[in-house]
């Protein structure tokens, strides 16, 4: 049993900081930066929770994990029970514990956040999930009767994997189709090893394979097979689309096709999926050693790109962002880690033009200084140019990380799938049902670029709705006005 502490005693405890690789060491390797809690640290951190009667932290979690209960179990050293509580609502705790923007979600809502530091819910979630993986993994081997219904899941990101998991657990026959040669979506090709070890993603995939989920990689749906063919020719009873938002935006300034200008997707794919950082890699990447690298953007993708460039020897490696640091959408931890690793931040600037030499290689960028004006609909103050305040910087390589739009491959060959003017697929937020009978969608393809936990939650809600549809055969779409 955990220690019996009074509320006042709990409030006096200090937040347990997670050990990290020292900045000088980690800035030259791709190993994970955060090293994890020891069991003692986890218990000490869990004891900080005052076990609120109205645990507002739960409202902050997009999937409503019973945080108070799992944290209480950690304080009691019931680590496996703690992870079981999390898994009622989340399918990927080892991943979400690492990559959720906790400061905007669970930890941002925690009552301790105002006067003290919030309970380190993310670190605790990560700890118990790693504990489970280190102790023989999940205990999920229940034999369920097969329903004989077949579901095609398109895309193997968090939305697709979560949907597949819930469907296979209730006895449906599930096949996941993935365009690339590896499974995991952005978790594999986008988020770098130093933030999310690929071994963790592979363990989740292996677990699903063990439960009987079939995986077909190198299969681009929309090209090799349309959605109609999956339903009509291949005998699938339902299709879930979790194809993500993977069409990179560029800046739209002159010179952005110069050699040395990458989209973040290309840069990170070359490094993560194709392992261009390893000695002897077959896939090339421009040599960044001692080069000046600038990354446009202020989100997680921009932080991942700039920190990756740093690890590949870039100096200086700089973030160029058009708003101020307060508006950066990246996780606070990533910004702090980037700074500790020597990343430079130049805020309130926007590119006007990229310059190159006669062979077409990038040499520099002309930038416009910005200031913050009125708030826009997102509540963030809108950046506007300061007339005449322009300057030029010399750079060797630029990475554009200003977001992704949905890839239109599937919509193009499925005309009866309703889409928004932004190219996202229209789907009911509660059920994932689209305008096309038997077709469901969730994750970034519906919301636009969002988060792992939201994609996972959407995959699970769709799975519940798919199960219901397969049992009842009733297809009912919530009227547009209600949605």
């Amino acid at each position: 049993m955990g220690r019996d502490l009074t509320r006042r005693e709990r409030l006096k405890l200090t937040r347990q900081e997670m050990a990290e690789q020292p900045p000088e060491t980690r800035a030259v390797n791709f190993d994970e930066v955060n090293l994890g809690y020891t069991p003692e640290q986890a218990v000490a951190e869990a004891e900080r929770c005052i076990l609120c009667s109205h645990p507002v932290c739960i409202d902050g979690c997009p999937v409503g994990i019973d945080i108070r209960e799992f944290v209480r179990l950690v304080a009691d050293e019931q680590f496996q029970d703690a992870v079981d509580v999390i898994k009622r609502d989340s399918f990927l705790p080892a991943i979400c514990g690492r990559v959720c923007p906790q400061e905007d979600q669970c930890e941002g809502a925690c009552v301790l956040a105002r006067k003290y530091k919030p309970v380190a819910i993310g670190h605790l979630e990560r700890f118990v999930a790693d504990y489970e993986r280190g102790h023989g993994g999940q205990t999920d081997t229940k034999d369920v009767p097969k329903t004989g219904k077949r579901v095609a899941v398109v895309g193997s990101g968090p939305a697709g994997l979560a949907c597949a998991a819930d469907l296979v657990r209730v006895g449906h026959d599930v096949t996941v189709f993935e365009a690339l040669h590896e499974l995991g979506g952005v978790l594999i090709y986008g988020i770098p090893e130093f933030r999310l070890p690929k071994e963790i993603v592979r363990a989740e995939v292996d677990q699903l394979a063990a439960l009987g989920v079939r995986f077909e990689t190198n299969t681009v749906i929309g090209m090799i097979e349309t959605i109609d063919e999956l339903l009509e020719d291949d005998g699938f009873d339902a299709v879930f689309l979790g194809v993500g938002a993977g069409l990179p935006r560029f800046l739209g300034v002159p010179g952005e096709n110069l050699i040395g200008v990458y989209s973040a997707n290309e840069f990170l794919t070359r490094v993560n999926l194709m392992r261009a950082y390893e000695a002897g890699a077959e896939t090339p990447l421009l040599d960044l050693y001692g080069k000046t690298v600038a990354v446009f953007g202020g989100g997680n993708t921009a932080m991942d790109a700039v920190r990756t460039a740093r690890r590949l020897g870039a100096a200086p490696a700089t973030i160029l962002y058009r708003r101020s640091e307060a508006e950066m959408p990246a996780r606070a931890e990533e910004v702090a880690h980037a700074k500790a690793e020597g990343i430079e931040f130049e805020t309130l600037v926007t590119p006007i033009e990229m310059h190159g030499n006669e062979d077409g290689w990038l040499t520099g960028i002309r930038l416009q200084r910005m200031e913050l004006g009125e708030s826009d609909d997102s509540g963030r103050r809108r950046p506007q140019p300061i007339p005449g305040d322009e300057f030029e910087i010399a750079i060797d390589v630029a990475v554009v990380a200003i977001g992704n739009d949905p890839n239109p491959l599937i919509q193009k060959t499925t005309p009866d799938l309703e889409q928004t003017p932004w190219g996202t697929i229209v789907a009911d937020p509660q059920t994932g049902r689209t305008a096309k009978v038997a077709v469901f969608a969730g994750g970034d393809i519906v919301t636009g670029g969002a988060t792992v936990i939201l994609a996972m939650g959407a995959g699970r809600r769709a799975a519940a709705s798919i199960d219901e549809y397969l049992k009842t055969g009733v297809w009912e779409i919530v009227a547009e006005t209600e949605a």
């Binding site: 690339l180 090209m223 090799i224 097979e225 993977g246 560029f250 990458y262 794919t269 077959e282 077409g360």
Partner: protein
């Protein structure tokens, strides 16, 4: 894993492969390509589907060994496997009715142009082929082209076979003598496609080229394959690979294709060295 059913050289450094890929064989249309990896740690490279048999379930790839990946691939034999194969990718060739279409292939470009020639002929068009090579042994698919085209003109730089000169010289000659020519498809090295565009432009002949930028995913996700067409940025893997030749910025394409020149050169030398060791094991003389 896709099994290689047949493999043989059809020209120096150019190998023909029949590869088991039943779904791709059924689905593919002229002008589309696949992305393959030779090994589990290999690079992803695009290759055009040169031919396919939907009943037998195979596709044909014709590969010129230019660097590490293609040269490694060209060592494979019937019975070996490709580690990954994804496709069909890209937009199919647009096939309409023309008075007379000319298909121009330079080097291994002939392999990429061949399926389009077949599709044009199947749609009832008169098709003329101009297929070039440095010398006789580099001219490929001549018999295959003859089977579908009304006229076939091999050209060689050294005059060892067919017309002595460049494909563009032959094309200019044909255009001058045949006013019915109203569509040209050109595939080959970037300077050749550029030159073809310059030949047809003054005549206002509708001309299409198949571009070969560096690709990674081939699904529109990375933007590495971007090309400039009519001043607009397009992704060759999903918007192409075929584009209006008169609007393509060929210089940009040629420059961007040199991005990894130093790396490729190094890997190629390394490959040549390992090849030397393989053929002459240490200790042999």
């Amino acid at each position: 894993m896709n099994r290689i059913l047949e493999a043989h050289f059809i020209a120096p450094e150019v190998k023909y492969f029949r590869v088991e890929a039943p779904k791709v064989a059924r689905k593919r249309r002229a002008g589309q390509f696949v992305i393959i990896r030779v090994t589990g740690s290999g690079e992803r490279i695009p290759l055009t589907i040169a031919d396919a048999d939907p009943e037998a379930g195979w596709i044909a790839l014709i590969v010129q060994g230019v660097g590490k990946t293609t040269r490694t691939l060209n060592q494979l034999q019937a019975g070996d496997t490709l580690h990954d194969l994804a496709g069909p990718l890209g937009m199919p060739s647009e096939i309409h009715e023309y008075d007379t279409a000319v298909v121009v292939g330079g080097g291994v470009g002939t392999a990429i142009a061949y399926p389009t020639a077949v599709a044009l002929a199947d749609a009832g068009n008169d098709v003329i082929a101009i297929i070039g090579g440095r010398s006789r042994e580099f001219v490929i698919l001549e018999d295959e082209m003859r089977a579908v085209c009304t006229e076939v003109y091999p050209t060689t730089d050294d005059g060892s076979h067919g017309f002595h000169g460049f494909v563009t010289d032959k094309l200019a000659e044909l255009i001058a003598s045949n006013p019915r020519i109203d569509h040209v498809v050109a595939v080959g090295p970037v300077p050749m496609m550029h030159a073809v565009a310059d030949v047809t432009r003054p005549h206002g002949i509708d001309t299409v080229v198949s571009l070969n930028p560096i690709m990674v995913d081939g699904t529109g996700m990375c933007g590495g394959c971007r090309v400039s067409v009519g001043g607009e940025t397009r992704f060759a893997c999903v918007d192409g690979p075929e584009f209006d030749a008169h609007l393509v910025d060929f210089e940009l394409l040629a420059r961007r294709n040199k991005t990894y020149g130093a790396f490729e050169h190094y890997r190629n030398e390394e490959f040549t060295a390992s090849e030397h060791d393989r053929v002459n094991p240490p200790g042999s003389c």
